[in-house]
């Protein structure tokens, strides 16, 4: 059977998934490194805003750190799996996992916002809105524009 041509938007969505997953991996590594170094880095010569930010990091419990890392990791994995699914136009791996990723990302965004202090970007701010843009768009597009695009 001839495979239906993949919409350009679905390919773009997959590429964005891989880009955001790549950025997520960098963030994950940075965040994990901070966990190990948070009590070693001196704060005396930092600017007041940087110092407040770093102190907020230091005050954060290890369990919160680990929980945030776990959320990031799950999100990255879901992004990669759904990205491959979009390219293959698979209903399970693409549409379903993509929806799970979008909902999971929004929930984890809310949880992270509640767990982190405002100095670290916690609470409701424009940074949080940026974090919601892609999951909301994914959820919307998968269930409208590309709903019929998953043919395998």
């Amino acid at each position: 059977m001839e495979q239906e041509k993949r919409p350009g938007g679905l390919t773009a969505l997959a590429v964005f998934n891989f880009i955001f997953a790549g950025l997520g991996v960098i963030g994950f590594i940075g965040f994990a490194a901070l966990l190990g170094l948070k009590n070693v880095i001196p704060t005396e010569n930092m600017q007041p805003d940087q110092k407040a930010q770093f102190e907020a990091f230091q005050e954060m419990g290890t369990m919160v750190f680990v929980a945030l890392l776990a959320l990031m990791l799950v999100s990255i994995v879901l992004e990669i799996i759904s990205g491959v699914g979009y390219l293959k136009q698979k209903r399970g791996m693409g549409w379903r996992v993509g929806n799970v990723y979008a909902v999971f990302s929004m929930v984890s965004g809310i949880v992270s916002g509640l767990m982190m202090k405002p100095e670290l970007g916690g609470g409701f701010n424009i940074g949080a809105i940026i974090g919601f843009v892609y999951p909301v768009l994914t959820l919307f597009l998968l269930n409208s524009t590309f709903k019929e695009g998953f043919t395998n």
Binding site: G8, G9, F16, P118, L141
Partner: protein
Amino acid sequence: MSLKSISLAHVRLISQYWTRFAVRSGSGLVYLLIVLIFGLSVANNLISPVEFLMVQQEKEMGHRDPNAVQELIVKLGKPVIKFVLGTKSIGEVAKEASQEPMMMGPLMMEKEDKTVAGRWALFLLEDRPALLSSIFLILVFGLPFAISFLAFNQTTGDIQSRGLRYLLLRTERSNIFLGRFLGTAIFSTGVIAFLILTIVLYLGLKTRLYPARDLLIWSIQGFYALSILMLPYIALCAMISACVSSTFLSLILAKLLIAGTLLFAVLGRLVWEPLKYIKWLLPWGWQNHLLHPSFTHWGCASLACLVYTAVFLMLGYRRFAKRDL
């Protein structure tokens, strides 16, 4: 463009379809994400330090100090305005910023600055919500670089695949060309409206730095400025799209022409001063005036944008009407 061959019903139908098709084809999705992430990041970079200061003040003093907040806003906005209005180069702005002591810059813009640029900067920083002014100026400068992601493939993809032959059985070339241009413009305007609405709602409901009326008035002018500014660039992309038979080449040419014109003018003037006028080939020389306090200035800038749009559309259509599809 022959006005007799234009059917408004066809143009409306084609533009509606093209607006919806933009996301499905990928170009609209890329543009949407780039504009939203770029615009919101700009807003975040300017608003976050102010919010941070307000949180610190409330923690330490139990209340906000409006003077210190305004001082910080001016300190953040001043370099942006100086750079985008062209009164200072990026090197001079960076040098000034590094020389100013942290957090404690000069209180306000130099009041004695009676030059046109000085009065314009004062208007943007003091008479209008300064944070919103800075965001708009960066968007006016930055969005032309993004528009080609949306507009590069108005006709070139179908020229390349020869798919237009089937559409030409049902409508005229002028309707396709104009309908797709309008569809692209509508999509771009919708994205800009959504971006500005998000930023203004955030500024109004979360930070509560400015009265709602001021935010509303300035956001309407900002929306108008950005929407009308996109038209000549979309028309330029329509022209390029009609002239070449490869989507990739169309994107590269659009990028090169839009960014290259500005870059050539900036670098060229270092070698020979008159080369700076190259930027007038596109609205680069006019576009900041869309946020000018004087009606004459922003009215003329709007008119210039429409003239550029008309010229690019006419040139593009001349080629599109004659070429083998």
